[in-house]
Symmetry: C2
Subunit: 482 residues, 2 copies
C-alpha cells in the first residue's frame, strides 16, 4: 500500500471539491445572503489542503494503481469529502455540531438525502445550493469526475472507477476509461439541464429548479422547502420530477445509447424491462390500495402512489404524501422498494434490480436442477450466460448487505431507538433513500438520533453508496497483510 | 410420475397415522373425557382410507422412486396428514370450522405450534394429547417413521428421506437408510423419555409431562395450559425445558454419536460450536438488556432471557414472558432468532445455522477474493471443502425463503393485517416458530386471522417444515413436463 500516492490523489479530489464551492459562492454573492465568507473560507481550506497534499508529496508513478489502493483512495476520498463538505454548514452556523454537519454532508454526497435540519427554508441560499450540489457531485461520483477531467488519471483510473461505480457488470462505453467517465458526466449534465428547464417553464423559481434538478438526477432527495415537493402542491412539478426520478434510476449507459440514436435500447435491455415491470406493478398495487382509504379520487391516488413508489425505489426520497398513514400493504411495498433499488449503473442505491434478477434466477435454477439433476443450464441474462464469478460477487454483496444491515439495526436498538426507527433508519441510509418510517419518517428527521447512532448511519450511507465491498474490504485483516 | 404408486404409499402413511390415534384413544378411556368416539371415528376413517388406498392400488415396483416422486409423496403425504389429523378436533367439537381444524393440525405436524385456540384447558385430555402427539410425530417425520418401520420402503426410501429431512448435508449414520431412520427415532424417543422423567420428578403431572416432552423434542410449542410454561411459574420446569429445547435444536446425528461414546462430538462439530456461540451471545445480550428494564433481579432476567431466546431460536415457541414488553434490542434479537433457527438435522425449522455459516463464509470469501484476485481458496467447513453444488443449493434455499416470505407478507397485508402482524405471522409460520408479535404475539393467537390468511400461513408452515424445495418444486412448470 503506497500511502503517499493515496494521499496525493486525495489532494487532487480536495482541490476539485474546493473549486466546486465557487458555484454556491456565486449564488451567495447574487443573493447577498451572508454566506459568502463561510463559503470562501471553506473553499480556501478545502482547495488549500488539496494543493498542499498534492505538492508536498512527491510525484510517483500512479500508472499501476492496484485494486486495493483504488479502494483505499475512494473510501478515504469520500470520508474526506464528507469532512470538507461540512465546513460551509459549520462556518455559516447553519448546523451547530460537527457530527450533525458531517451527517448532512455525507448524506448529500452519498445522495441519501437524510437530513438533520427541520427548517431548511431559513438557510442562506448559498448554503442551500451547496447542499444540493453535494448530491449532484456525489451522484455520478467525485472520483469519476476527476477521471473525466484529468486524463492522466485515466491509466490507473479503471481501479478507481470500479471502486466508485461498482456495478456487477462494468459497461465500458468508450475504449478509454477517462472517455467513458466524460461521456457519463455529459449525459448526466444534459438530463439535469433538461429537468431544470422543464421545472422553470412550469413556474418554479430558477434557483429552486436548479436545486431540485441537482437532487433529482443523483436520486438524492434534498429539497429547498420544509415540506419537500408536497409544498408546491403542483401536479405538473410532481409529474416532471416523477419522470426524472425514473430517468435517474435507469442505467446511464442506456441513456447514452439512446442519445446516440438507439431508440429501442430501453425496451431491449433485460434489466430495464424488469425495472419498469416491477415499478408498474408496485404503482398499480399502491394506487389500488390507497384509493378509497387515503384518497377519494383515483387520479389523486395514482399521482401520489406513482410519486412515492418512484421516489423510494429509485432511492431519491422526495415525498409528496405522508405514506405512514397509508394502509399496511402500501407501506410494505415501500419498505420493499427501499431494499430493491433501481438499475445498476444508475445513480440510485440499495441492492439494485440487476442483482435481484440474478438472485431470483439462481433460485429458480436450483428448482430446475432438482427436477433435471443432469441438465447443464447456465444462468443467462439477455441471452448471454452470466459468468460464475459475477454470480459469486452478487451473492457476496447480498449476504454482506443483509449482515451489515442486521448489525447496524442491533447497534441502533442498543443506542435506544425503537424497533421501527432502528429498522427504518438503517434501511433508509444503507439504501441511500433518506426518509424512512417512525422517528425518521417522511415528516420526521434524523436530528434526534443520538450521536453514536448518527455515526453508525454515516457509515451505512458510505457503505451503501460505494456498494459495500469498497468500504468493508478495508476492515478485513487480509487487506492489511503483506 | 406414477400417481398410483404415490397414492399407494400415502395409503401406508394414513394407516400409520390412524394407528397412532390409539394413544390418545387410550388417554380418553383413562380420563373418560368424552373424546373416545370422536377419536375412534377419526382412527377408523384414517386407517380405513389408508387400507383402501393400499389394497385398491396394485403393487408395482417402488424400488426406483425418482426424486420427483419422492417429493410428491412427501408433500401430498403431509397435506393428507394435516387433513386426517384435523378429524379429532372436528368430531369432538373442539374446533368449529375445517379451516381452523386444518390450521391447528398442520401447525402440529409441522411443529410450528401456532394455535387458533384460546382456552386449551377446556379441551378433553384425549384431544389435548393428540395435539401434542401430532408435533411429536411431525418432529422426526412421519415418513421417516414409515421408512424406519417398513424396511421394504428402504430401497427407494432415500428419496423420501431426503425430501422430508432436507438438510444441506445428509448424514448417513448407517449403511442402510431404513437403519438410519430407525436409529434417529430411537435417539428421539430416548431423549423424550428422559424429559418426561425429569419433568415428572419435578412435580409436573404425568399427563402434562408427556405432553410437554412431546412438544419440546420436536421444537413444537403446543402446551396444556392457557398460559404456556409461564403458568407453572417454576424455575425448575423452565430450566429443564430450556435444556431440552436446546437438545432438540442440535443435530440428532450428534446425539447418536454422543450416545455411542464420542463424548466430545458437540465441541468438535463446527456447526454446533457456532450454534452455541450465537445462543450464548444472544442470551447475554437479552439478559443485559432486560435487566433493569423488564426485570429487577439479574437471575430472573437470565432465566427469562435464556428461556425465550432458546425457545425462539430452536423454533419451539414456548413462552414464559411477554417479550413484547421488552426493550427494542431484545425484540430485534428474537426476530433474528425466528429467521436463523437451530442446527441442520435437528427438529427445528427456519434457515438453520449450517446455512447461515456457509452464507457468511461465502460473503467473506468474496472480500478475500477482491484482496487476492488470483488465490484459489475453497469454502471449508470443519477443515473440509464444501462442494459447489451444496453452496448453490444453500443460496437457492435462501433466496427462495426470502422471496416466499415477502410474497406471503404481501398477501397477509392485502388481506387486511397490519404491518407487524403481516410480518410476524409469516416469519413465525414459515420458520415453524409459532408465536410472533402483535396480533399473533405471545399473548395472542391466530384465531382472528381471516380464512384466506390462515390458508396462506398453512402453506407457509408446510413450506418451512419441508424446507421449501420439496413443496415449491411442484409449482414449477418444468416439474410437470415429461
Amino acid at each position: 500500500m503506497r500511502f503517499h500516492q493515496i494521499f496525493r490523489l486525495i489532494g487532487i479530489l480536495n482541490l476539485f471539491l474546493g473549486l466546486s464551492m465557487l458555484a454556491p459562492l456565486t449564488i451567495s454573492l447574487i443573493y447577498s445572503d451572508g454566506s459568502f465568507y463561510p463559503l470562501l473560507y471553506s473553499l480556501v481550506i478545502t482547495s488549500g489542503s488539496g494543493i498542499t497534499l498534492f505538492f508536498l508529496i512527491k510525484r510517483s508513478d500512479y500508472s499501476s494503481l492496484s485494486q486495493r489502493e483504488g479502494m483505499a483512495i475512494v473510501t478515504l476520498g469520500w470520508l474526506s469529502a464528507g469532512f470538507f463538505g461540512s465546513l460551509p454548514f459549520l462556518f455559516s452556523g447553519s448546523i451547530g455540531t460537527i457530527t450533525d454537519a458531517y451527517f448532512e454532508s455525507i448524506s448529500g454526497f452519498t445522495t441519501t438525502g437524510a437530513s438533520i435540519l427541520s427548517n431548511i427554508e431559513s438557510l442562506p441560499k448559498g448554503i442551500l445550493f451547496w447542499r444540493s450540489l453535494t448530491q449532484w457531485i456525489g451522484g455520478m461520483g467525485i472520483i469519476v469526475l476527476s477521471i473525466a477531467i484529468l486524463p492522466f488519471l485515466g491509466v490507473g483510473g479503471m481501479q478507481l472507477y470500479k471502486a466508485e461505480i461498482p456495478s456487477p457488470v462494468v459497461d465500458k462505453l468508450q475504449p478509454r476509461i477517462s472517455e467513458t467517465a466524460k461521456t457519463l458526466w455529459k449525459v448526466y449534465l444534459l438530463i439535469t439541464v433538461l429537468e431544470i428547464g422543464l421545472l422553470f417553464i412550469g413556474g418554479m423559481p430558477l434557483f429552486d429548479s436548479i436545486c431540485h434538478a441537482f437532487s433529482t438526477m443523483p436520486t438524492g432527495g434534498f429539497g429547498t422547502q420544509n415540506g419537500s415537493i408536497a409544498q408546491y402542491n403542483s401536479a405538473y412539478f410532481e409529474g416532471v420530477i416523477t419522470v426524472f426520478m425514473l430517468l435517474a434510476g435507469v442505467n446511464f449507459s442506456l441513456h447514452f445509447k439512446f442519445l446516440k440514436g438507439d431508440l429501442k435500447v430501453f425496451g431491449r435491455d433485460p434489466e430495464c424491462r424488469v425495472f419498469l415491470f416491477i415499478l408498474a406493478i408496485f404503482v398499480l398495487l399502491v394506487t389500488y390500495n390507497i384509493y378509497g382509504t387515503a384518497y377519494h379520487s383515483i387520479g389523486n391516488a395514482f399521482r401520489r402512489g406513482a410519486f412515492q413508489v418512484t421516489s423510494i425505489i429509485t432511492t431519491t426520497g422526495f415525498v409528496t404524501a405522508n405514506y405512514e398513514k397509508w394502509p399496511a400493504l402500501s407501506q410494505i411495498i415501500l419498505v420493499l422498494c427501499m431494499f430493491i433499488g433501481a438499475m445498476a449503473g444508475s445513480t440510485g442505491g440499495a441492492i439494485k434490480i440487476m442483482r435481484i434478477i440474478l438472485l431470483v434466477k439462481h433460485g429458480y435454477q436450483e428448482i430446475f436442477r432438482l427436477i433435471h439433476p443432469h441438465a447443464v443450464r447456465p444462468i443467462k441474462l439477455g441471452g448471454k450466460p452470466v459468468p460464475v464469478d459475477v454470480l459469486n460477487s452478487v451473492w457476496g454483496f447480498f449476504i454482506l448487505y443483509i449482515t451489515l444491515f442486521i448489525v447496524a439495526v442491533i447497534i441502533m436498538a442498543s443506542i435506544g431507538l425503537d424497533i421501527v426507527a432502528s429498522f427504518a433508519s438503517v434501511a433508509a441510509t444503507i439504501g441511500n433513500v433518506g426518509p424512512g418510517f417512525g422517528l425518521v419518517g417522511p415528516i420526521g428527521n434524523y436530528l434526534s438520533v443520538p450521536d453514536p447512532g448518527k455515526w453508525t448511519l454515516i457509515f451505512c450511507m458510505v457503505l451503501g453508496r460505494l456498494e459495500i465491498y469498497t468500504v468493508i474490504i478495508m476492515l478485513a485483516p487480509a487487506y492489511w497483510r503483506k
